[in-house]
């Protein structure tokens, strides 16, 4: 079975690159490597991951500067060819800034950084990233962000809802997407979205931090399992 090539892109200020590398390395069928943001042609990969962190110190806007890095051209091409591209936390912000995903992430309505475990509901299993989940399954994943409030205008939101492009919603333990379960004020409790072709996923929760019972949850494995199963199928 040919090994799957997975790239973890490193921007100046990324800090979850180590955790993403470790998460993917737990799957023997994967060959994972770091790709430096200044590398204009890093080569072909089966999967690309944009990790969390504070790319360029999150100055101006989270991900505002990272999107101009030389590596972005290859990432856009990777997405255009329909291969899986996962942006986590700061990675999600970079995908929005680069126009690969609609809408924007901005300051939490509590105005403070929040790091805690939350529940999110998988809205569809018809995607490369969630096919290993049961429909409507509630996952226990940690969040850690200060600018995770998702915003899109009404027209875009309608398109996301109708197109089944909403990947995860913040919810309570029983799966109810209530306002009380919304940690940052995101519209429609959105925690993660797909592009139209559903090969690009941006999500604020950190699946790479939920890969081991010792860390409090293994639910993050479902996302990596789905992605790798889809690619090797």
């Amino acid at each position: 079975m040919p090994r799957l090539s997975v790239a973890v892109v490193v921007f100046p200020g990324s800090n979850c690159d180590y955790d993403c590398f470790w998460a993917v390395a737990q799957f023997p069928q994967c060959r994972v490597q770091y790709v430096w943001h200044k590398d204009a042609n890093p080569g072909r990969f089966d999967v690309i991951i944009l990790p969390g962190g504070f790319s360029y110190g999150d100055y101006l806007r989270c991900g505002a500067i990272a999107r101009f890095s030389p590596v972005m051209q290859a990432i856009v091409e990777h997405a255009r060819q329909g291969r899986p591209l996962l942006g986590i936390c700061n990675g999600f912000q970079i995908l929005c800034e680069a126009g690969l995903l609609p809408g924007a992430l901005y300051r939490n309505n509590s105005l403070t950084f929040i790091c805690e475990h939350v529940y999110v509901r998988a809205e569809t299993t018809a995607s490369v990233f969630t096919r290993a989940c049961a429909s409507g399954q509630v996952l226990n994943l940690p969040i850690a962000h200060g600018e995770g409030q998702y915003f899109a205008d009404d027209a875009t939101l309608r398109q996301l809802e109708d197109g089944g492009q909403i990947a995860f919603r913040y919810c309570a333990r029983d799966g109810a997407a209530s306002a009380q379960a919304n940690p940052n004020g995101s519209r429609h409790n959105i925690a993660g979205i797909f592009n139209a072709a559903k090969n690009v996923l941006g999500m604020m929760p950190h699946p790479e931090r939920a890969m081991d019972a010792r860390l409090g949850s293994c639910d993050g494995q479902l996302i990596f399992k789905s992605m790798l199963a889809a690619v090797s199928a």
Partner: protein, 79 residues
């Protein structure tokens, strides 16, 4: 030459910082305050004196880098 750029959140986009500041001002007794919106103010110093060229460049910088069109709008002045 100096460019003063003002980047503010679009109408309809909730401004958590602005509403928090508004509430605390009212608690501090400034009843006259009706609304507060907070944005970014940038001073960019540019070499050269050709106002035409500077205006185009600053506009380009705004659209490319300074502004996220989903949630922000901008205006600028050349000094």
């Amino acid at each position: 030459m100096k460019a003063h750029i003002f980047v503010t959140l679009k109408q309809g986009v909730l401004d958590p910082q602005g509403s928090t500041v508004q509430r605390s001002l009212q608690q501090m007794g400034y009843a006259a305050v009706q609304s507060v919106r907070i944005g970014k103010f940038m001073e960019v110093e540019l070499a050269g004196t050709d106002r035409e060229a500077a205006a185009t460049q600053v506009d380009e910088m705004c659209r490319k880098l300074f502004v996220n069109p989903n949630i922000e709008e901008y205006r600028f002045e050349l000094r």
